[in-house]
């Protein structure tokens, strides 16, 4: 069985120690909590914290590994859904006219390009008819039932949006999973 939780636990400690700043991206912390295998505590936590992502633009991007339109692309190790890369979006962007989900689930995937494990956040794109030609994938590395909601990929992650129709899924790198 995976050691996902112990890894996450360690990373969490690292982050707390390093004082890294919190993300302003669009997942609610309720979800971020869930992501880390946690328990949802009930009640809305809507505030987001400031985040300096200046350095994000400076890092040299690793050469693309594999084909992000196929299920075997490394980021998709816990993705259950249609690839947005084959639905008019990209691996990090929803197609035109879709809405990004407010909440998301995570996986820990190994990037063969730099031999690192990454925390990947899967967002659904919402509110549109699925494209019948989209590539559907099902990978469940580290996946858990709904009691670890942030790791659960059977559910419609458009659930917190006003428009809940499932369209496709993107895979966002959150950071290295040490």
């Amino acid at each position: 069985m995976t050691n996902f939780f112990s890894r996450v636990g360690k990373q969490l400690d690292d982050i707390l120690v390093s004082g890294a700043r919190s993300s302003a991206r669009r997942f609610g912390r309720r979800s971020a909590l869930a992501k880390l295998g946690g328990f949802l505590v009930g009640g809305a936590v809507v505030a987001t914290l400031p985040f300096d992502r200046g350095f994000a633009a400076t890092g040299e991007k690793p050469a693309p590994i594999d084909d992000d339109k196929t299920c075997d692309y490394w980021r998709y190790c816990a993705l259950d859904g249609n690839l947005c890369t084959t639905s008019g979006g990209s691996k990090t962007s929803c197609p035109v006219g879709a809405e990004a989900s407010q909440v998301s689930w995570v996986g820990t995937c190994h990037n063969p390009g730099d031999k690192r494990d990454y925390l990947v956040s899967y967002y659904d794109c919402c509110g549109k008819t699925p494209y019948s030609g989209a590539q559907f994938c099902l990978h469940s590395k580290g996946e858990r039932p709904g009691y670890s909601m942030g790791l659960h990929n059977d559910i419609n992650w458009c659930m917190a949006n006003a428009n809940k129709g499932y369209h496709c899924t993107v895979a966002i790198v959150l950071g290295v999973a040490e």
Partner: protein
């Protein structure tokens, strides 16, 4: 115009068999359209088929030969429960205003199985969990008076519906917990929680939460999580872990108690593990748990389809027989003298029927199979 066409209208209403009856063989007489009044008799098996883009359905097949009998229409992502007598179905599903967007109307529908007619429609909370059809998302008390439905926003809660009045009586938050395991009397339910504990919620006669208690951690969510499915075994709840360990839980008291564990797959070479969504089916008359199993345990393999169905004797803690059964992701077991196993291959799209021989170590033999697109969950009594 009107006179001419009025005459034509009359004349056209007289389409009828004409007078060639003198010839041999006689022509086919005029027929009349009809509507089948009730399903053909005999035991049924139910398949829930979901959709992310439109209507779902509860398909009804003959449990004898998988002949298709009829369906009950649902909204999106239906979750289904069957009455103990198998004569009433209860289904929760979602109807968004513009199908793919707009406000969601979530409803519970109760229907008569033999006529597939709606008996009751009740509005539930729109936060109803839109998840692939699976066990424990809706549960009905054995007297049919109370239904419970899983919600997720992603914060989890349970909607309690009084089926007599059709009214929602409570939304019970179950933070960090998931899946409804309702006691037959409908008075309390248990849910698995993300810290490895089990939450027990008691419900009053008024359908409101009357108290709740969380057990000590019972399972290890990190190392060997439980599948979100249970079977009722002699009044206890039986779960199974990703790694192939049965967890027998007593849910009778205020707090759930671990009764026993049994690592049934451990001694068998090949790293066999359960896989799929509803991977256990229990034959109460024989005390045999059937489990969908596949070899080569790997992280992320817990939804892989089966290679075999194992018959496990719970009283003697023995794997009695391993029957070939390819690709199943959900199974359900009938409670008759000859247990029948029905399996769905949700990844491939098929429905399968196996007959079990109690005199041959509960070996299961495939007797029927059909292709079935979008088959997602299977239910039988």
């Amino acid at each position: 115009m009107s006179g001419k066409w009025a005459a034509a209208v009359l004349s056209l209403a007289v389409l009828a068999p004409c007078a060639v009856r003198a010839q041999t063989p006689p022509p086919i007489p005029a027929e009349e359209i009809s509507v089948e009044k009730a399903l053909k008799p005999g035991p049924n098996v139910f398949v829930t088929t979901g959709s992310w883009g439109g209507a779902g359905a509860i398909y009804v097949f003959s449990a004898d030969d998988l002949a298709y009998k009829g369906d009950y229409s649902t909204g999106m992502q239906p979750q289904f429960a069957l009455s103990p007598g198998a004569d009433t179905g209860v289904v929760a599903s979602a109807f968004p205003k513009r199908i793919m967007y707009g406000p969601v109307e979530a409803i519970i529908q109760k229907f008569d199985v033999s006529t597939l007619k709606t008996q009751q429609e009740a509005t539930i909370l729109p936060k109803f969990a839109q998840v692939s059809p699976q066990q424990g998302q809706i549960q009905v008390s054995s007297d049919g008076s109370r239904a419970l439905v899983q919600n997720a926003t992603p914060a989890t809660s349970v909607t309690v519906v009084d089926l007599k009045s059709g009214k929602v009586t409570a939304e019970v938050p179950i933070p960090g917990c998931w899946q409804i395991n309702l006691a037959p009397d409908g008075a309390h339910f248990s849910s698995l929680c993300g810290d490895g504990s089990i939450l027990t919620v008691r419900l009053g006669a008024d359908g409101k939460a009357a108290g709740q208690a969380r057990s000590k951690p019972i399972f290890d969510v990190e190392k060997d999580p439980l599948f979100a499915q249970s079977q009722r075994v002699d009044g206890d709840l039986m779960f199974v872990s990703y790694g192939g360990v049965f967890y027998r839980i007593s849910d009778k008291g205020d707090t759930a108690q671990l009764v026993d564990t049994y690592a049934f797959a451990k001694a068998i070479p090949g790293e066999w593990t359960p896989g799929g969504y509803a991977i256990m089916g229990y034959s109460a008359p024989y005390g045999i748990m059937f489990v969908a199993m596949h070899p080569g345990a790997r992280d992320g393999g817990h939804k892989d389809g089966s290679e075999e169905i194992w018959a496990v004797d719970l009283a003697h803690k023995t794997v009695l027989y391993r029957s070939a059964a390819k690709g199943l992701t959900q199974i359900a077991v009938s409670q008759g003298k000859v247990p029948l196993i029905f399996g769905v291959a949700s990844h491939g799209g098929g429905l399968f029927r196996f007959e079990v021989d109690p005199t041959a170590k509960f070996a299961a033999k495939l007797t029927h199979q059909i292709a079935l697109r979008d088959a997602a969950a299977v239910t039988v009594r």
